[in-house]
């Protein structure tokens, strides 16, 4: 995209989502954990100029004081990492510092696969808990289940472990063993599961078909190859139905991911025109992304509904915003999260990295998403649980279904969704009805202010 700067795609994984989502403790403050990332490769463009004298003096003085007087020896690097961390935290909440270890972890995760056992984990009431085993992985084969409590990893109690530490302990080279001690209702005592680690692929796209020639594509996050997976399902659906009569693109609770992937996914459905543009402080950060012709989803005679909710952020909002502004799709659901900033990963000399907010992005009509989100064309409410207990019950129920392989996306894509499936998800059911009664009557749009 930019002549002088090499761009590389970066993605976080579902597993990491769980990490950031629950461990950060910034309850309700952070977006659902994922951000639009671009990676700039290579060292600093020029050798950095010295800091202003007074600042440098203060800085070296403190460094020296620590060296001389601190109760125990500290490596200068560790102290400087603290300093960079502190500097970055005066910026916005999406900017952060990654130690070399954290940055390596991120790079491993971005490859769309990693070596582990294949579970998504979270902290539930401060207890390390399995959210779900990923199908076809060692964890799945060993019979780990959603809701299992992991009390020990290789004999070490998990009580005081952070989620990140736990993830680190569970991962390891392919072929190596890890023992999880699992507590489960019905077990008289915690039981050991010995698992052999393997390469775990992570797919961000799942699909199903609906009776009457409709397709349903669910994007969990925007990572490497998300666009190809979307296109793959779309092509298969078009072959199966010829013609495909309508498509639902489900971006609910999709926290985002790669900016480029958002552009590519939107491009799947658009033949021309602006998708998104970014504005930063430097001309380098000002970019405009346009759709190109030639993808299978471009035909405007294919009716399309995009589902969003308050958990749809960043890359999801780019896709929903572009398809809405270009009137390619009807956006339905609830107002999206509203994270309209782009982070760039800037590697530093010693292997650590900055994740820095470098630009804001805008939908084709010039709207910023920051704090505003995308308003749906059709408001569809998810059934509202009456209290926290009911919400928990709903989640448990969903988890139970998932455990039995009865979740909506737990079956092969070409197996049609049943009425019972749709009853599970009233918003999806409404989306199907919208497609069956196409075109929908839209409430008059508010004039742009």
């Amino acid at each position: 995209m930019l002549p002088s700067v090499a761009l590389r795609k970066l993605t976080l994984l579902l597993v990491l989502l769980a990490v950031a989502g629950s461990a950060a403790l910034a309850v309700g403050e952070q977006p659902p954990a994922q951000e639009t990332l671009r990676l700039r490769l290579g060292g600093p463009s020029s050798s950095p100029p010295p800091l202003a004298d007074a600042h440098l003096q203060n800085f070296t003085q403190v460094l020296h004081l620590i060296e001389q007087h601190y109760v125990e020896p500290k490596s200068a690097k560790e102290v400087i990492h603290g300093a960079i961390q502190g500097a970055v935290s005066t910026l916005d909440p999406h900017s952060s510092f990654m130690t070399p270890e954290e940055f390596r972890e991120l790079q491993i995760e971005t490859k769309g696969k990693f070596s582990g056992i294949g579970i998504e984990i979270t902290m539930k009431d401060r207890i390390l808990t399995v959210v779900s085993p990923i199908e076809g992985t060692p964890a799945f084969r060993a019979g780990l289940r959603a809701g299992d409590q992991i009390v020990k990893i290789d004999g070490k109690p998990t009580r005081n472990l952070s989620l990140t530490e736990a993830v680190k302990m569970i991962r390891g080279p392919k072929g190596s063993k890890v023992t999880l001690t699992i507590n489960r209702p019905g077990f008289p005592a915690p039981k050991d599961f010995i698992l052999v680690r393997d390469i775990i692929p992570i797919r961000s796209v799942k699909a199903r078909v609906v009776e009457g020639g409709l397709g349903y594509i669910r994007v969990a996050n925007f990572q490497d190859q998300t666009d190809l997976d979307v296109r793959g399902y779309l092509t298969k659906m078009q072959q199966k139905f010829s013609p495909l009569k309508g498509l639902i693109l489900d971006l609910r609770n999709d926290p985002g991911g790669l900016l480029e992937q958002a552009v590519q996914v939107a491009d799947e459905f658009l033949s021309s025109g602006l998708i998104v543009y970014t504005q930063g402080r430097t001309p380098q950060q000002n970019m405009r992304f346009y759709a190109r012709p030639g993808q299978p989803g471009e035909d405007r005679s294919l009716p399309m509904v995009v589902l969003i909710n308050e958990g749809s952020a960043s890359a999801s909002e780019i896709v929903a915003g572009a398809l809405k502004d270009q009137k390619r799709a009807v956006v339905a659901g609830a107002k999206s999260f509203g994270k309209g900033s782009v982070q760039t990963i800037i590697p530093l000399e010693d292997g650590s990295a900055l994740r820095l907010t470098t630009a804001l992005y805008y939908t084709p009509s010039g709207r910023t998403i920051q704090d505003k989100g995308i308003e749906p064309d059709i408001l569809l409410k998810e059934p509202e649980p009456t209290d926290a207990k009911a919400l928990q019950a709903l989640r448990d129920e969903a988890m139970e279904r998932h455990m039995r392989g009865e979740g909506i996306t737990d079956k092969p894509w070409n197996q049609p969704l049943t009425t019972a499936d749709l009853e599970q998800d009233p918003v999806l059911k409404r989306a199907v009805e919208i497609l069956r009664n196409w075109p929908p009557k839209l409430v008059a749009q508010q004039p742009a202010s």
Binding site: L25, K74, S95, L348, E349, D350
Partner: protein
Amino acid sequence: MKSAGLASFCRRRLALLALVAGLCLTLPAVGPPSVPAMSGSDSYEALRLASEAFHEIGQKYVQPTDEGELMQGALRGMMNALDPDSSYLTPEEYREFQRGGRSAPAEAGLELIYKDHLLTAVSVLDHGPAARAGLKPGDLILKINGQLVRNLTTQEGMRRFQGPPGTVIRVQVVRNGLPKPLDLSITLEPLPPPRLSVHLLPGDYAYVRLPYFQDDTPAALAGLLRDLKRQHPALKGLILDLRNNARGSLEQAVRTASLLVGDREVVSTRGRRGTESQVYRGKSQDVVFKTLPPTMVLVDQGTARGAEILSGALQDHGLATLLGDKTFGLCGITRAFPLKDGAAVIMTVAAAYTPKGKKITGNGLTPEVEGKKPAPGEPAPAPPSVDQDPWVIQALEYLKRGAAPAKRS
């Protein structure tokens, strides 16, 4: 008491001040050394790295940045990377620190630390404003007056909970076992002297609660123990409750320990190169019990600083058995170092060691008897009365079995 109010209040403020920094002792500040040539390639590379990072931020951040603000953030982050007692103070914060916080006559009654980017209540002082507002030890403070807690220091975190009496501070806290954050309002008040309390337990056992230390606490405890001894000469055992007690200086701890250990060593301190080395002993004339009845000391994660010193001394001299949870490990000796621009850093320069040489700073003390815990996932029950408190019951059983030693003190 009334007439002594102001004087003791001023003393309390001073004591508090030393603790605001999480100090056991604040030594006089030393003058700034001249800016040295950086020694070693390690430091040089580290500086290069910092320079590179600040350059990238300055060039690429979505908005223009203020270099001064970035540098303050950096110094804060640098000190926070050391330990929770080490802090950077802006020139304004340092002036406040030197003034002794007289402009902040009231407080929330909290001991907080900023660690791993979280502001945590180590202890919530019994009967204090925060305790009455419903705060609990271990609570993580997410927001103060609606503002997200970010890039703070322990010092600054404590300062946010001081101010004129009657000031209302809204906090949002996350608590273990609660699905949602809690919103609480704390009204600042001058902190009263700690309420020492005694409960007699069936079979000639006594329970003594020491919630936090102030300068007159050793004398008050001496009086209380003497009364107890006189009224109950056949006392079979003592339970000293130091849970949720994170406020107490080294000096206060030494004077308190003196009542029980006499002239033996209470604690020693040692810096990196043998600097700041000092041994602190009690005084034989202070001792209350010639033979201390078998004693259990209750400790937990909220036991820190002075209370750790006291616990460590009793444990090492075989005068008491500790029961409960590992203590916090917050008892370093800190010192203020002024910087050229009027700012300062407060830094841990020495660690505290028990008489047998166990390092308390950063490690905490491990009790001999682990306190019984509710099953995982089960919320902790509401604070029970003394005789229904599970750890008191456990300590009492332990004493009745004769498992705790009786030693001459």
